[in-house]
Every structure is written in structure tokens, then in C-alpha cells.
């Protein structure tokens, strides 16, 4: 019942004569074709994509809270330490490969981190869509709780901020648990250039 009430609230938020997101999805299903590993299932909006589309990334707090809790349940943590190797992490952060129709299926992808974030001070060519992560571990430490937070955030950013522009890098299969651990180390290891 609550779901239906939330859904009606969302419909009311749509202001213009623009087609609704299910209508847009239908047009895209007709106008796109699968290529390589990029299959048509990718056009089916899940609840997160739909709510963020219909609210222009400003979901009502109650809706955001409920959906973020659902997203939190998708995160699975590997056994043992979550700190990998920051050197491998740097390579993963640099790479923008993975999941496009001209990337080979199954080949190791990257995190595209530098596309949006500042990390190591040696890399000048960084984007600004996300916040700067330079010195991230320096002020926060590298404790178990923080490792868990960073791992979870990379695995599924939408569990923490529903309409974040950051991809769900673990859930989407872009990065493996090992690769995410290496990124945790890039952010938290005191020896990582990020923390120099």
C-alpha cells in the first residue's frame, strides 16, 4: 500500500507535457539494438533510476530513505580485511574501461574514478563531477568501519545517496570485490599517494 502512495506522489511531481519514464523506456526499447555485451535489458529502469528520473534527482526524503535501505541490502562484503593494494587501486582508478559495447565481456574493467574525482596529487587530469578525494584517509584514518563504508559506497553508491551520479560499480558487475578492495586501499592506506 505504501508503495502505491509513494508512486502516486511521484506521478504528481511530473510537471510538463513530457512523456513519462515508462513511455520513454518504450521508445528506447524500439530505437536501440543490442551490441556486444550491451544487451537490451539495460534499458529496463529499476526503481532507483525511475524515481531519480521522475524527480529530477530530488526524491522526497521518505522515498529516498526506503529505497536507500533496499540498496543497502544489495551490498555483500568479502571475508577478512577490506584493504587491498593501493598500487593496483591507482591503475583501476585511472581506467575508464568496462561494460561498453566495445569492451570485451569478462575483461577487467576500471573504476573511471579520475573521470570525476581528484585523488593522487600527481594526476592533474581529473574531473570535478564528484568531490575531491585527495587526502581522504589522512583526516579519517583507516579503521574497520571506514573501510566498510568506502567498500559499500563503491559497491553501491545509491545505498548512501539515492540519486548520486556515481555508478553502482560492484552491483553492476563493473568491478570485482578484489578491485574494490584495491580502491579502498587507494583511499585509506597511509602509504597511498592520495594520503601524501
Amino acid at each position: 500500500m505504501r508503495g502505491i502512495a509513494l508512486f502516486s506522489a511521484l506521478i504528481a511531481l511530473q510537471a510538463s507535457a513530457d512523456p513519462t519514464s515508462p513511455e520513454v523506456q518504450k521508445v528506447m526499447q524500439r530505437d536501440f539494438h543490442p551490441r556486444g555485451q550491451a544487451t537490451m535489458e539495460r534499458l529496463a529502469q529499476d526503481g532507483v533510476q525511475r524515481v531519480c528520473t521522475e524527480t529530477r534527482d530530488r526524491p522526497p526524503a521518505e522515498v529516498a530513505k526506503a529505497l536507500e535501505a533496499d540498496q543497502m541490502k544489495t551490498i555483500t562484503y568479502p571475508q577478512g580485511s577490506l584493504m587491498g593494494d593501493w598500487k593496483r587501486g591507482e591503475t583501476i582508478a585511472q581506467s575508464g574501461r568496462g561494460l561498453t559495447w566495445n569492451d570485451k565481456a569478462g575483461e577487467a574493467g576500471g573504476g573511471s574514478c579520475y573521470n570525476c574525482h581528484e585523488l593522487s596529487p600527481q594526476e592533474f587530469s581529473h574531473g570535478t563531477i564528484g568531490p575531491s578525494l585527495r587526502g581522504f584517509g589522512k583526516t579519517r584514518g583507516a579503521g574497520a568501519d571506514l573501510q566498510r563504508y568506502v567498500y559499500g559506497k563503491i559497491y553501491n553508491a545509491k545505498a548512501y545517496n539515492l540519486c548520486s551520479q556515481m555508478p553502482r560499480l560492484g552491483l553492476s558487475g563493473t568491478l570485482t570485490p578484489e578491485q574494490i578492495k584495491d580502491l579502498v586501499a587507494l583511499l585509506l592506506d597511509p602509504a597511498s599517494p592520495v594520503n601524501q
Binding site: P19, D31, P34, R35, W101, I129, Q165
Partner: protein
């Protein structure tokens, strides 16, 4: 000292290069090739494209590009330049859609027919104000679909166009990102497409731009000339309307 002098030399060089390409853009080579292709008889009907109606009457090129996309009664749909060219290739030249779209995006070694034709035709609109169709019901529908698509999140990475082109002052790596749903950003961008691309020595079109954005958004591939791609181009051009066209431009 030596370092500062070198930096000054480099900056002078860049300035000189910019001036050189502004005076004689490599896009002109594509324009020449496009003119030859426009006049070349091809296909089962062995016809050229010279009778192709781009909206101002058969064969009229002057100012035609600046008025696209718009609704075409014969096809009963809104078309951008490339979609209209494809229509003329199938109707006037009798070519199959499959044949005419075999290679729509070229390489530096071998530009595509569509790219060269786009360069030639767009250049004939230099100095004309962008004035895409927006009065026909199908034009309104296309514009509204384009706007909805711009904010529609989909694909393996949950992106919409606005994920990158939604907030002012943002970059991907070193590339500035225009907020294309706002006229002040859409105007200079749309007035310079299609364009010569320095990094690949190729010529790029708006259909290519839509295609390659969706590739990076990790969706499946949008079909060339589909309503989706035309609606997005239409939305962007309407947002930029009134700007004087000065392309084909130069891109990084």
C-alpha cells in the same frame, strides 16, 4: 628561465595553430569531398542527391541545415540532416537502408559518406540563425521526447545526459562539460556541429555524438536516425535557436 621561455613558445605555437585552423579548417577537405558525393550518381537508380529536399525545396542547400531538425510531410516524421540524407539515399538513389547505413561513422583514413555530406551541407548554412521546426504537433512531440530523454536515467551505470551535462562548472578529466539544456550553453555548441576533430583527424556528426555518448553511458546502441537520436538533437537545437550557425567547427 628556460622553462618559462619554453612555456611561452608552446603557448605561441598553440595560438598560431588555432589561428591556422580558424583560417583554413581541415573541415574544408570534407566539404569538398561532400560536394563531390552530393553530385555523384549512385545506387540502383544511378541518381545523385542533387534533388534531395532538405526542407527548402529540392536541391536548395543554402540555409537548409540551420532549419533542421524539422517535420517532413513525405516521410511523416521529424528528421535531422543525417536522417534526411538517409531518406534521400533510399528514395532518390534506390539504395537499401542496410547499404546506406553500412558505414555511417568513418575513420581518419576513410571518412564516411554521411560525414562528408554533412560537412558540405552544414557549411552552406554559415551565417544563418538556427531555426529548427517547433510548430507542427510532431515537432512538439519530438522536442518533448528529447527533453525527457535528456533527463532519463538508464543503462548499466544509471546515467542520463544530465549526469555529466547537468551542473555548471563541472569537468570529466580536463574536459569542460556544457549544460546543454540551458540556452547559454547549447547556443555555442550547436552553432559549431558537425565538426573536424583534431585528436582523430576525422569529421564528427551529431548522430555520432549521440551514439558515442550512449556508448559511454553503457546502454545498448541507439539506431542511426532513430526517433531517439533525432529527438535529442532536436531538443538541443531548439534550446540553441537564434544562434548564428558558424560551423563546421573544430573539436579537441
Amino acid at each position: 628561465m628556460a622553462c618559462a621561455a619554453q612555456a611561452q613558445d608552446a603557448s605561441k605555437e598553440i595560438q598560431r595553430y588555432r589561428q591556422m585552423i580558424a583560417e583554413g579548417s581541415p573541415a574544408e577537405l570534407f566539404e569538398l569531398e561532400g560536394e563531390a558525393l552530393w553530385k555523384k550518381p549512385q545506387g540502383p537508380k544511378n541518381a545523385s542527391l542533387e534533388k534531395c529536399d532538405l526542407g527548402r525545396g529540392p536541391g536548395v542547400l543554402k540555409g537548409a541545415y540551420a532549419r533542421l531538425p524539422r517535420y517532413f510531410k513525405d516521410a511523416d516524421r521529424v528528421m535531422d540532416l543525417e536522417t534526411r540524407l538517409l531518406y534521400c539515399m533510399t528514395t532518390l538513389q534506390g539504395r537499401s537502408r542496410e547499404d546506406a547505413t553500412k558505414r555511417v561513422f568513418g575513420t581518419a583514413d576513410q571518412p564516411s559518406e554521411m560525414e562528408s555530406l554533412s560537412a558540405y551541407i552544414a557549411a552552406r548554412s554559415r551565417g544563418t540563425k538556427l531555426d529548427p521546426g517547433i510548430s507542427h504537433p510532431k515537432e512538439k512531440e519530438s522536442y518533448e521526447l528529447g527533453r525527457a530523454l535528456y533527463f532519463h536515467r538508464a543503462g548499466a551505470w544509471d546515467f542520463s545526459c544530465a549526469s555529466c551535462h547537468g551542473e555548471e562548472g563541472k569537468r570529466i578529466r580536463m574536459q569542460d562539460l556544457p549544460v546543454l539544456y540551458k540556452p547559454e550553453f547549447a547556443r555555442p555548441v550547436m552553432a559549431s556541429w558537425p565538426a573536424y576533430r583534431l585528436s582523430t583527424s576525422g569529421f564528427i556528426t551529431l548522430q555520432w555524438r549521440m551514439n558515442d555518448c550512449y556508448r559511454q553511458m553503457r546502454t545498448p546502441e541507439p539506431t542511426f536516425g532513430s526517433e531517439t537520436t533525432v529527438a535529442l538533437i532536436h531538443f538541443l537545437t531548439v534550446t540553441a535557436r537564434g544562434e548564428t550557425y558558424h560551423g563546421p567547427g573544430n573539436k579537441r
